[in-house]
């Protein structure tokens, strides 16, 4: 059973404001979900490797995501090659930039405005 203190701590990490009633409810629901997930503990999976998204290129071998079944690869990483691109600035059209900035609740001179974070 997950404790109320733990839920409180996690909520703070997630920057999620919860009321006292919500905290209690969340604690109960999370515990039942976690109990269900415990099913995973039934068996030893230590011999299996975790599914990974991207790996550095192996000797220039060209591979695509999930091409394992096509190629009948024995090793089961789901990606064989990392995706690289040049470190270049992609210029947005000024009107797209304007539209994106306009979505912010508070702006000043084309910048996002936030509250002071450092006090004297």
């Amino acid at each position: 059973m997950i404790s109320e203190e733990e839920v409180k701590h996690i909520a703070k990490l997630a920057r999620l404001g919860l009321t006292q009633v919500e905290l209690k409810k969340m604690q109960k629901e999370l515990s039942s979900i976690l109990d269900y997930i415990e099913k995973l503990g039934d068996e030893d999976k230590s011999s299996s490797s975790a599914t990974e998204r991207a790996k550095a290129s192996e000797g220039g071998k060209k591979g695509t995501f999930f091409d394992f079944a096509v190629a009948r690869v024995k090793k089961v990483d789901i990606s064989v090659e990392n995706v690289m691109r040049n470190d270049e600035v992609r210029r947005l059209k000024p009107e797209v930039r304007r539209k994106i900035i306009e979505q912010a609740p508070e702006t000043k001179a084309g910048y996002l405005k936030v509250k002071l974070i450092l006090n004297k």
Binding site: I33, I37, S48
Partner: protein
């Protein structure tokens, strides 16, 4: 035949032969939405003015004798987590209630290049989190086959809109079954493409290692048309890949299809099992070889999924901070309070639940026990499929263990809702393509067959689906 009954191919022919104009076609669907959507609530935004003016432009193109791509003027609905420039994109969330998309998603750009007509944006479970569309901040969508029941989710709006003839076809997205299960519940065709087959640039991120944009339509042929249009590599989505060469024509007598025994055990509604078994029998009768196979890690897929899903979701949803865009709490005294209040007030119950669960399983001390362990199980689930695909061309399973349930029936407690995804989640974890095909009814409600293929063999599973459509026309 009414204009609102047409498939893409039929509507395209009609426009080409000038049997009706693009404007007439567009108006027929807008009228249908006006007439039916009050009780179905598939649409969150109807793009009336823009759609009408676009239809007029298309008519000019037609009278000028321009060559018409197949999707030109086809009234299409888009799930409200895919960005269409200048139109609201809410993801079914209060936190994005007033968000206007500043650019087009890559798939939308591709549709627009063909002058496809975008009718509006459809309802969904908030950020895709749900299997019934009841988690939308704006109210539930109703199943056109029975208004007291759910249309499935999270792409319930898109599937219901197609089933109610409020559009010809639609785009949705599939994370753990979000296109396949609503397609099954609404009696329409849905395709989850292979992970990486379609660009996700402009899709509001939910679970990045699983999300795929997915078409939903009335026929397999229409589904194929949309898929062919939207697929392909995009430099704006590093996970997208180049389309592989088309597979050679199928020979029915050479087809071998696996039926996993783990998908017909406890938990499945016997009525659903009956319809699925009858459909499989139909394939057998025309000469397809059916073979029982085993996917032993099936039972671990769902718990693994419900760790991976909230973990990645919690990371993706961290961006809604009340600063950059979306809902921002008023009367906050400092920055921390803006975060706490904006997220607390802006996110719905299920979203908050998954953020907490995900943050928990990624936090120090728990990562190995949860996320890493789930990713290991994921590999085992994937290995299961790999092994079976050495022997068979495709796999048949039910899409859902249950029939469309009543609105309100499963919403109180999170677990019964999660269990609905049991047959669709393993395929997502393995990154495989799967088709959801309506193959019959039980208690007057639609039942879908899931046809799972090898990576990038969408074309093959679509063809297998077409065989059924031809053998047993609806």
């Amino acid at each position: 035949m009414k204009l609102t009954d047409l498939t893409i191919t039929q509507a395209h022919q009609g426009l080409k032969k000038k049997e009706f104009s693009a404007l007439e076609l567009c108006k027929a669907y807008l009228d249908k939405i006006k007439e039916r959507d009050r009780e179905i609530f598939a649409f969150l935004t109807v793009n009336t003015e823009k759609a009408l003016s676009q239809a007029k432009k298309i008519d000019n193109l037609i009278s000028a004798g321009k060559k018409l791509p197949i999707l030109t003027g086809i009234p299409t609905a888009i799930k409200d987590n895919i960005l269409v420039e200048g139109i609201k994109c809410t993801a079914g969330s209060k936190i994005l209630e007033d968000y206007i998309a500043p650019y087009d998603a890559t798939v939308i750009k591709k549709l627009k290049e063909e002058d496809c007509l975008i009718l509006g944006k459809t309802n969904l479970d908030e950020f895709g989190m749900g299997s019934s569309t009841e988690n939308s901040a704006f109210g539930p969508t109703h199943n056109p086959h029975d208004l007291t029941r759910v249309p499935g989710g999270s792409s319930g709006g898109s599937a219901a809109a197609v089933a109610a003839n409020e559009c010809v076809c639609a785009l949705g997205s599939d994370t753990g079954g979000s296109i396949r299960q609503p397609a099954s519940f609404c009696g329409v065709v849905g395709l989850r493409p292979t992970y990486g087959a379609v660009s996700r640039y402009g899709l509001i991120a939910f679970v990045s290692s699983l999300d795929q944009i997915s078409p939903v339509a009335k026929t397999v042929e229409d589904t194929r048309i949309i898929f062919e249009t939207i697929k392909g590599k995009d430099c704006l989505d590093s996970n997208s890949v180049e389309k592989p060469a088309p597979v050679k024509k199928l020979k029915i007598r050479e087809l071998k299809i696996g039926v996993p025994k783990e998908y017909f055990v406890k938990g499945i509604d016997p009525e659903v099992a009956k319809v699925i078994k009858a459909a499989i029998k139909k394939y057998e009768e025309i000469g397809v070889k059916i073979e029982e196979v085993s996917l032993p890690y099936t039972e671990y897929a769902l718990p693994a999924y419900y760790i991976i899903n909230p973990s990645e979701a919690s990371a993706n949803l961290a961006r809604y901070d009340g600063i950059k865009y979306g809902y921002s709490a008023k009367e906050a005294k400092d920055l921390m309070e803006i975060y706490l209040k904006s997220k607390g007030e802006g996110f719905g119950q299920e979203v908050r639940r998954r953020i907490i669960l995900g943050t928990y399983s990624l936090s120090a001390g728990y990562y190995e026990a949860y996320y890493l362990r789930a990713q290991k199980v994921r590999t085992l689930v994937k290995n299961d499929f790999e092994k079976v695909f050495e022997k068979v061309d495709a796999i048949f399973t039910p899409v859902s263990p249950v029939l469309p349930f009543k609105i309100g029936e499963r919403i109180e407690d999170p677990l019964p809702m999660y269990l609905v995804d049991v047959y669709t989640v393993p395929i997502s974890l393995a990154g495989l393509p799967a088709l959801s095909l309506p193959v019959g009814k039980a208690a007057n409600l639609p039942v879908g067959l899931q046809i799972i293929g090898k990576p990038f063999e969408e074309s093959k599973i679509l063809e297998i689906g077409e065989i059924f459509e031809k053998t047993c026309p609806r």
